[in-house]
Point group: C2
């Protein structure tokens, strides 16, 4: 298609919403901006996506550089979230932000560059741009994902107890579940299997460790909760 004026694309940026459980609470990774605009404020890690790289490739490079986290290696699950493009969202001018959401169970920032800080989703600091809105959107998507897929696996280590599993759901959903009903329903999905290992810790009965049969994302036939 021809334009009278030469075609100028908008700025394209990428941002990552990275979730992790810390102390049984759902947390998000933020960085403190070192430059204007919003210098000193908290923001999602992200940056400019140039020609020739996919947005996911750009995000991997940028988040590794700015936050010391490899979204490909440190996250167990990642998906595109939404593309935010209101003209006013960036004070420097029109920017189209392609956002991604992911979850990990043990995000280890490279200590040399570890400027990333985790905040509980229900106790977030004021954030730059429209990033508070993006985090909220991501949280809603995450709740949906946990109800119709096996995505919880992304928060858990390979071997885990049923109590840990339930806690992961509760942290994401934001409310408590009944232990007996939870186990009955979850186990009936057949996603996991018992192992012969137990976890012994503290002055109480040890817990059996379970693991997922498949490491891949599956859509459930009967959705969960």
């Amino acid at each position: 298609m021809q334009y009278k004026t030469p075609y100028t694309p908008p700025t394209v940026t990428v941002d990552a919403v990275m979730f992790q459980l810390i102390d049984n609470a759902l947390n998000v990774a933020l960085i403190q901006r070192s430059t204007e605009p919003f210098k000193g404020e908290w923001a999602l890690p992200g940056g400019y996506a140039p020609q020739g790289e996919t947005t996911l490739q750009a995000l991997e490079r940028i988040v590794l550089h700015k936050a010391g986290v490899s979204i490909l290696n440190d996250l167990s699950y990642i998906e595109q979230l939404y593309t935010f493009d209101s003209v006013a969202r960036d004070p420097r001018g029109h920017a189209v932000a392609v956002t991604y959401m992911g979850c990990g169970q043990n995000i280890h920032p490279d200590q040399a560059k570890a400027v990333v800080t985790f905040f509980p989703v229900n106790n977030l600091p004021p954030m730059a741009y429209d990033h508070a809105e993006i985090v909220k959107y991501a949280h809603n998507r995450l709740i949906a994902k946990l109800t119709y897929t096996n995505a919880v696996y992304a928060f858990l280590p390979q071997y885990f107890t049923l109590a840990e599993l339930q806690t992961a759901y509760e942290a994401v959903f934001g409310y408590e579940l009944d232990k007996r009903n939870f186990r009955k329903k979850f186990l009936s999905l057949g996603l996991t299997e018992e192992t012969d290992q137990m976890r012994r810790e503290g002055a109480h009965r040890p817990a059996r460790l379970h693991r997922f049969k498949s490491p891949d994302l599956e859509v459930l036939s009967r959705s969960f909760d």
Copy 2:
């Protein structure tokens, strides 16, 4: 963030997947490309999104120009679908495509520019780029939307029969529903109300017309089918 080389954004394009029911079948609006690449092939209406316009504004302008359809006026529902950005998807070079999906019940292309053609989703022609994949993705999203929201309204006129309503669900889902169970379940959602109007057509008992109480998209508490 600083780059050694000046920042060059990728090309940003927009595409629309517009659904409509025709003869009780789900159809998609396509146009025949008039220029290379893929000249003569069928494609989703779309084009370049420039700096300074939101992607939705750009889409409205482009689809009106190329297909004679106003997505804002002719569609009852529109939402962002996904952003496709594999580097290889456009033979001219890296393009990021922000796609939208919408539904209408009476899409009237401006006849002077009416180069848009509707194809049934289960009998699509070969399509340019990755557009076949995009349509499939949109169809899956649409099925999901109809199960957990009241989005069917977008396919129906203001006054409709329960048979038409059921047909809309069947056309999107791709399978038939039981009439009695359908009515029981749907009516229990309380989204619609009876009117005192009837539709008389053909040699049989007339059907009562219903209408939606609210014209807005709502997420259902108990999802449908």
